[in-house]
Symmetry: C2
Subunit: 296 residues, 2 copies
């Protein structure tokens, strides 16, 4: 389950309520495109903004729409007891795996983050993905902490932040993590602009933001890299560079939401306020890119 | 209401549940000590870790215990609609004011933060404190954004992060904010180690972490500074330096919780996991400091 393209759909809102119909449409597109797994309630799925009841509805809708495709459900929250409750809800909904980021308000210590994973994994019946996203959690994992957490029961994968774009630095980075954690723990890349480099450097999975909305656009990159054609993967990533530049300027969530809104897959203003999405000028740029890059 | 010592009590948990009895005791101590206001559900009150129902209970308990002392209630949350609901709850509970930090998961833009305050202040019947805490929100206000938000209805105060410890740099910093916002908007200092410098530089209030647990310890500093005896305020702050050093090393929340636990004001392990509190060695240091510095 922790190889290939894991596609992370938005959780679209409509007038501040979960838009289940649009969400079902997004997940169905992913299944039809042939993604390897669906990542429900990732950062792209706005998990941190939704309450427990909403998150239960999203998880159930994802599993129902994904059919045979495994669904990984995000269970991150600030408080350990809520994380444990969300883990139960996700498993009851039929999640094939759960994914946990050390969300913080007070800056967390290594011991606190280890304790969080220790408590949560002790109760699990499904595998867990360690979700390392320093840009949103403001916590930085060391390789030593990866190693300690990877020894816990049910830890099956690590979703790492973008690797350096220099290929040898990327290989060194992925190689060091590979040495630190047991072989049964998959290493996957996130940060779409670093996907080709990450996959070419030994990452086994790509946890993709834009792939959750336009899977046909990113599958050639994923397939090329995983089939060993690193040059083709890099070429595909180069082709999508204007998109990566917009991601860097505005955040991948806002740009991906604008793509989904432009393509009519979700209602306008689908993000949870206070997040506003793009300006009108940037939305026009997204519309042009959607055509030029054949986003689908 | 936005002058003098605003004391921020912990929201103690006992076995992961709100310990209302201990909380009532903490607030009662503040009233008896003569603080100028009580800051319920600040960062020190773990607001970000509590759900809406818990936060309603805390707000009601604070107002009930505070008697004539005004209670400022924190309403921060990631999603605007939840912030608005929390603002309603706080007002129904009898809050004299509310306090709002731009909590983030996705990094917020200036426009998004302005929009948050615009939406929330439009509905309010009580004054609002703009809560600027970049260490936890990971958002940095410019003076220009302070100025725009200060023009919104009901904005009555700004709680600023620590000023530089150099007195002239601190005066420059507070003076620049003072010039940016209307006179009716109070400027208050947070970061206990910067309180003397902040008050001596023109801040009108001190939003205090440790003052919410040991008010008698910090009132002399606040009174000296607000009476114009800046040297006495600095001397008091110097006296408490070993405490500020522990705050810098471990975070003021963990140290203050250890003080409250040591003094028997709350049950052991009163913080929301995954936050663990101090190690045993550091708790022994806290116990020694409590005696040496006469924390009370």
């Amino acid at each position: 389950m922790f190889t290939g393209l894991s596609a992370f759909p938005l959780t679209p809102l409509n007038d501040d309520r979960f838009d289940e119909q649009a969400y079902t449409g997004l997940v169905t597109r992913l299944v039809e495109a042939g993604v390897d797994s669906v990542g429900a309630l990732g950062s792209t799925g706005s998990y941190a903004y939704l309450d427990r009841e909403e998150r239960g509805r999203v998880a159930r809708a994802a599993v129902r729409s994904a059919g045979e495709v495994p669904v990984i459900v995000g269970i991150g929250a600030l408080r350990t007891s809520l994380v444990r409750a969300l883990a139960e809800d996700a498993q009851e909904a039929g999640a094939a795996a759960v994914m946990l980021a050390p969300v913080s308000y007070q800056q967390l210590t290594d011991e606190e983050v280890f304790g969080l994973y220790e408590e949560v994994t002790a109760d699990l019946s499904v595998p867990l993905v360690v979700y390392d996203n320093p840009g949103t959690t403001h916590f930085t994992f060391s390789n030593g902490l990866y190693a300690r957490i990877a020894e816990l029961p049910n830890v099956a994968a690590i979703k790492i932040p973008p690797v350096p774009l220099d290929p040898s630095a990327a290989r060194e980075r992925v190689g060091a993590i590979r040495e630190a954690v047991p072989d049964h723990v998959s290493i996957g890349i996130s940060g779409d602009s670093a996907a080709a480099t990450g996959l070419n450097s030994g990452c086994q999975a790509w946890y993709s933001v834009v792939g959750g909305t336009v899977p046909d656009t990113v599958l050639p990159l994923a397939r090329a890299a995983l089939n060993g054609d690193s040059a083709a993967a890099v070429a595909e990533s180069e082709r999508l560079k204007p998109l990566w530049e917009m991601f860097a300027a505005h955040g991948s969530l806002r740009v991906t939401a604008a793509i989904a809104e432009h393509l009519g897959l979700v209602a306008p203003h689908c993000l949870p306020r206070p997040v506003l999405g793009l300006s009108n000028a940037d939305r026009e740029r997204v519309a042009r890119l959607a055509e030029e890059l054949h986003l689908a």
